[in-house]
């Protein structure tokens, strides 16, 4: 099955691809496999979920995660990835152009600083548009004291210098592995992948999704370009409501000055649901 998938992949590489259209045919090699099932409409109650929201329930939490993805695309680095700690307050209202806007008050922590790190208070407006074809949510975000966080500059510089050299050719698979193990050396790469994946997760999010990065399937360093570290990642994303694992290949650049940029993304079929081909 894996051979079939690889062959299909080679035949179908698309650069700068947007999210796969809902009507995309499943690849031949994955007869029957499909994109994540179109999200089921939620209950009538949820559809009318406006006004004050319960902070611990999913509508507020999903919107907060979207704000987190936005935060990470702007401020994430090999030594900084933010995670949601708690939603304090949330409300939602339908907006004129169609769509729903969430107002959120929440706290985040930096995973890279472990349990020692302080919580940052943030507020955000997250607008989910209601368009026929999916389009990315719009986020406006303010976090306190963000500009004061400078303490990772040294680590970033050291990491950058170590890997910008021409003979650096990092290549690894399954980070973390099945047992949750991740070497110290791989941690900045995992964080970079997580930040780069945030671009995709932000773009793909709706009120009916809740994405996390399940695993970095692979990282392969490419030739540096314009003084940027160039990394090709294959990441597995997990969507909570549908429970689907979605695979994306992406090309990202990073430097301490320019931060993380995602240059190419490509959805990849995973063929997980099929039987093994008869051998």
């Amino acid at each position: 099955m894996k051979t079939f998938c690889s062959v299909w992949l080679l035949l179908s590489v698309v650069e700068l691809s947007p999210a796969p259209p809902a009507s995309q045919e499943p690849p031949l090699a994955c007869r029957g496999a499909a994109d994540p099932a179109p999200p089921q409409p939620e209950t009538a109650e949820d559809m009318a979920s406006t006004g004050d929201l319960e902070p611990t329930h999913y509508p507020a939490r999903r919107a907060a995660q979207v704000a987190l993805h936005y935060l990470n695309t702007h401020h994430g680095s090999p030594f900084r990835v933010f995670g949601l700690q708690q939603v304090h307050k949330a409300s939602a209202e339908d907006v004129e152009a169609g769509g729903r806007k969430y107002k959120l008050d929440f706290s985040v922590t930096d995973w890279a600083s472990g349990s020692a790190g302080p919580a940052l208070r943030c507020s955000a407006d997250v607008l989910f548009p209601r368009t026929e074809r999916h389009s990315a949510p719009d986020v406006k975000l303010r976090c306190e004291a963000l500009q004061q966080i400078n303490r990772t500059a040294q680590e970033e510089e050291a990491f950058y210098q170590k890997h910008i050299t021409p003979d650096s050719a990092v290549s690894a698979r399954d980070i973390p592995d099945s047992y949750g193990n991740m070497s110290e050396e791989m941690q900045p790469f995992w964080r970079l992948a997580r930040v780069a994946a945030s671009f995709i997760m932000l773009r793909e999010s709706s009120e009916n999704t809740e994405f996390n990065m399940a695993q970095v399937a692979s990282v392969t360093q490419q030739e540096s370009s314009e003084e940027q570290l160039m990394l090709e990642f294959v990441v597995l994303l997990h969507d909570l409501p549908s429970q689907e694992i979605v695979q994306w290949k992406l090309l990202a650049s990073w430097s301490p000055d320019r931060g993380v940029r995602v240059l190419q993304t490509e959805w990849q079929p995973r063929c997980p649901h099929a039987t093994k081909p008869p051998n």
Binding site: P26, A34, T56, W111, P176, S178, L236, S242, A274
Partner: protein
């Protein structure tokens, strides 16, 4: 140098003393009482003495670091029977030394214990390593060992077979007949590895605490506890052999190349409604009909024939939530107020250990709409205290939770389980 002249030197007198004190060293297989000495010679003369000492074969000295130069310490294992002689020699010649290891055998015993732990086949549940993830064979061995070691308390019931004919093993903890019961299952979704790992820990915890912890002992005096650790063994085997992210059962679906049914959408509670999928190629595929999966049917049959289960807890990861019915409808459960309050207390207990933040509420409001779910069915069967856990974490590692979090997760979850079980015991119905 003639032997006579050798006898006359004062250095030789030292060695003579030594020889006089010599006790035959018997061939030993153990190292009981042996000590490790670290000797620091202060000049070349002392180094020479130590070299001569090393040549006294009858002492059985085992130099880990030979005498070479006065700047380098000398490490020597001294057999028990030579200790007095060697220490006398060193003292007579004013050679400094420290005792590094008081008893070498103790050290070896500790090391042996550590090594045994990491062997593939632990000899007892005390040897079993709880801080690592195990495969199906290892878990089934654990189950059999636990029963063998605690046969007065624990028995194994096989409630059915998986699609691929693996036994569906349930541990029964019981101190008397005809008792009402409490059910706990882990691993219904095979990729949620911290749950099976926690189930193992819970099993050991029960046998350890029975007779020691008054609350648990009291619970077991009135209720049986049933624990199914690997609720989806086919899926679990598949996560080890093929796909770490496999969730469902491994039953093929007719008319599709896609395999497997979501066992937590296959129950007869709102079956077929929104919150599950009709597409076999999806993770939440509900199956062709309610209870079509043998793994699910086995539990259904068990619950119905037992007839007296009073609490039912189904454990998943991840999200750090404690959830109660319903998932298939937004109509609140009749006992919502009580279930909510008990969840609050259980979560408070959980959080008290490591400050792990949990949220709680009904499935449909807190996590997502889900139809055909386990605890919706058990609740509708009249099992009032029906709960689902989503264990650590909140998405950072998700399914790939590092093994060093297994025990902390199990420990904190156990506090919540105890709160639920205690409440069940105190509120019979």
């Amino acid at each position: 140098m003639t032997l006579a002249r050798k006898f006359n030197s004062s250095k030789m007198k030292g060695l003579l003393v030594l020889t006089a004190l010599f006790v035959a060293v018997f061939g030993k297989k153990t190292f009981e009482g042996d000590q490790l000495l670290q000797i620091t010679a202060k000049d070349e003369a002392q180094i020479s003495l130590l070299k001569e000492l090393s040549e006294q074969e009858h002492l059985g000295l085992d130099f880990w670091r030979e005498p070479v130069h006065e700047s380098l310490p000398v490490d020597v294992r001294v057999p028990f029977h030579s200790l007095q002689a060697v220490r006398a020699f060193l003292g007579y010649n004013q050679i400094q030394y420290n005792v590094m290891i008081m008893d070498v055998q103790d050290l070896l015993d500790d090391e042996q214990r550590e090594m045994v732990k990491y062997r593939s086949f632990p000899r007892s549940t005390d040897d079993f390593v709880y801080t690592t993830y195990h495969d199906l064979n290892s878990i089934n061995s654990f189950i059999d060992m636990l029963v063998a070691e605690n046969s007065n308390l624990v028995s194994k019931i096989v409630i059915g077979q998986s699609y691929e004919n693996r036994p569906l093993n349930v541990l029964k903890f019981s101190t008397g007949a005809n008792r009402p019961g409490i059910w706990i299952d882990t691993g219904i979704h095979s990729r949620e590895w911290v749950t099976q790992a926690s189930g193992i820990w819970f099993a050991k915890k029960i046998v350890t605490d029975y007779g020691r912890d008054p609350v648990l002992t009291d619970i077991l005096s009135n209720y049986d506890i049933f624990l199914e650790i690997v609720t989806n063994p086919d899926g679990f085997a598949y996560t080890h052999s093929n796909d770490r992210m496999w969730r469902k059962t491994r039953k093929p679906n007719s008319g599709s190349s896609c395999v497997g049914v979501d066992p937590n959408r296959n129950w007869d509670a709102g079956f077929g409604g929104a919150g599950s999928s009709s597409n076999p190629c999806t993770e939440t595929y509900r199956g062709p009909s309610a209870h079509s999966e043998p793994e699910v049917k086995a539990i259904v049959d068990f619950v119905k024939s037992h007839g007296k289960l009073k609490a039912f807890v189904s454990i998943h990861n991840y999200s750090q939530m404690l959830l109660y019915p319903y998932g298939y409808t937004s109509t609140p459960a009749m006992d919502q107020a009580e279930l909510h309050e008990l969840a609050r207390r259980a979560v408070t207990a959980l959080q008290s250990l490591y400050s792990t933040r949990y949220t709680y509420g009904s499935i449909i409001t807190t996590i997502y709409q889900a139809s055909g779910g386990t605890i919706d069915w058990t609740y509708n069967q009249g099992i009032k205290y029906s709960y689902t856990f989503e264990l650590r974490d909140t998405g950072r590692y998700g399914f790939l939770l590092p093994a060093d979090q297994i025990v902390p997760t199990a420990e904190e979850t156990w506090l919540a389980l105890m709160a639920i079980m205690e409440h069940t015991r105190n509120n019979p119905y």
